[in-house]
Subunit: 332 residues, 2 copies
DNA sequence: CTGAAAGCGCTTACAG
DNA sequence: CTGAAAGCGCTTACAG
């Protein structure tokens, strides 16, 4: 059906080897035959079969991108940037949406291996993710961004979350808050763990209220955060401020407070984390800690392709970027 | 490097043909040898090479998904659903983000053809999209969702946007509005054209203010909508309500009104279109016309794979779903 | 500068 | 029920 190099070779009266050479822009071919072949290829509207090529070259120029939830604006934004950047570098990306299910992640990893992708970018890494570390023995290059593995020699680009939460607490304390609640994420992600650690450290440092009821698991999910905020509000001695470990949860907390008749920030302060785009909207104006999604995505894509994927001397990349508190109008 | 069927054949003491048969679960093979081969495949941790397989079968079980902007929550949500649904049906999806650039779309179409995808799903179709209709002569199946081509025998799933805008105007008129502005999208998309047409029809029907200044091109972009809203507000005789042709622009309009000191809906009403998830947030509460993103995405994925991609008798699918006005708190 | 040949990892008639 | 062989569309030493 599709036209092949054999078709071109016939029309041009040369061998397929020669056609292949000009198509791959090798230098050892006469300009005259080169032009002829090129013209014919264009005329026949030839489209090389990348899969056939991969069979010989062992390179698919395809990357897997595994993320936990494309519906989360943070991952939508970073996925979008990663796709665009690696495209400019000559790679296609197969996107895989795990919906936060480890089983689905394993399934996707297998599929990506069967498709012989040149490497995998993970936004979905758990702290003890054996499926990912196993990749090392199987020789498939990978990098994790945002969420990362426990430690060691794997590639990652993430944010100094302890520092980020510290900034949030600093600010709330400077506003006079003493009873601060914390909405955490699942303890299986580095981001949740680090952010919680940052909170615990800061709480100790400032000698804030130690009430265990103030720390709640919002699971990084808007609805769950909503419920837990409800619980927080209903406490006999409720907090005056809530720090949510991501913006999605902060949005849930905000929604809950408003629907419960509270004014934000007059009655209660709310701080998020990530700085997704909607947080800056005039009707939201969420105070949050920015992890610079665009920068993190761009760096992940570029460094993975340019440093890790280079066959000869694959360098390791390990980066921990500085977060930045962005003060808007949900805090006082 | 990777283990192949040849490796398995050697260990099992059978031919590669037999190995291939059991791996593909053909029936004509003795249970005994079948079990042996399976055991060995598992033991060696065999992962079939999908690309090599495609070379023979002419099926890649890969789909291209071309969308205009993954950062737009509508496309993030629908892409996420499409990816998950086709995955369950045995397909991987290569995602392509055109950033609304026709040139990039053409580039992506070529790449997808070179990768021999089994079909392409377009969320980015322009009304006169020759690159897409050309696909018919090249025998690559496709479907467009949301935005669709001019008409004819191509596959699409979209919404009755004339009806949707009609509902919005009906409601505003019932609230007493007579001077209604309209923020349109680029006239190259069916969605923009239909929504504008719906507005013009309704305006005529109700004999509303015909001032041409009231219709402005927000380009489906939040920032552009922000500027045009500013222009609208500054009119000597400003509108009392704004209909935005998508939620993104409505969000921009809302942001602009608030920052300009107006109260919504007390001073001005705003209606969006699409019903992206953030529109329902307590701080947003955007009145909008829902196109049922989840339903449209699910149907697109299912019908494309089950109807269009079946080799024998590919059926055409053409669907125009009914929209629904969702009244929240940006209108009065 | 060019061609014949081998081979990448599979599948599938054909023959037995 | 199984194997030998051809072939999918390419690339790349090897030889000239």
């Amino acid at each position: 059906m599709d036209v092949t190099i054999k078709d071109i070779a016939e029309v041009a009266g040369v061998s397929v080897a020669t056609v292949s050479r000009v198509l791959n822009n090798k230098d050892n071919v006469r300009k005259e035959t080169k032009d002829k072949v090129m013209d014919i290829a264009k005329e026949l509207n030839y489209q090389a079969d990348f899969n056939a090529r991969s069979l010989k070259t062992n390179k698919t120029h395809t990357l897997g991108l595994i993320i936990p939830d494309l519906t989360n604006p943070f991952y939508a934004q970073t996925s979008s940037i990663i796709e665009n950047v690696v495209h400019d570098l000559g790679y296609s990306t197969i996107i895989c949406n795990t919906n936060n299910q480890p089983k689905l992640q394993d399934e996707y990893i297998n599929i990506l291996r069967q498709r012989r992708v040149d490497g995998i970018i993970f936004g979905s890494a758990r702290i003890d993710d054996k499926s990912i570390t196993d990749l090392k023995t199987k020789n498939v290059p990978y990098i994790t961004y945002h969420r990362c593995l426990k430690k060691g020699d794997t590639n990652y680009i993430t944010t100094d979350d302890v520092k980020g939460i510290k900034q949030a607490v600093d600010y709330l304390v400077s506003c006079g808050h003493k009873k601060i609640a914390f909405l955490s994420g699942p303890r299986i992600y580095s981001t949740s763990i680090e952010r919680l650690r940052g909170f615990l450290q800061a709480r100790k440092e400032y000698n804030l209220d130690f009430d265990p009821d103030l720390i709640r698991d919002g699971e990084f999910v808007e609805e769950k955060a909503w419920e837990e905020t409800q619980n927080l509000i209903n406490l006999t001695d409720p907090p005056t401020a809530i720090i949510a470990a991501n913006d999605i949860m902060a949005l849930g907390a905000l929604d809950c407070c408003i629907k419960s008749g509270l004014s934000v920030p007059q009655d209660i302060s709310i701080i998020g984390y990530d700085d997704i785009y909607i947080s800056s909207h005039a009707r939201i104006q969420l105070t949050t800690v920015s992890v610079h999604p665009e920068k993190i995505a761009r760096k992940t894509a570029e460094l993975f392709v340019k440093k890790v994927l280079t066959k000869e001397n694959s360098e390791s990349v390990q980066l921990r970027l500085d977060p930045k508190l962005i003060i808007r109008n949900t805090t006082a």
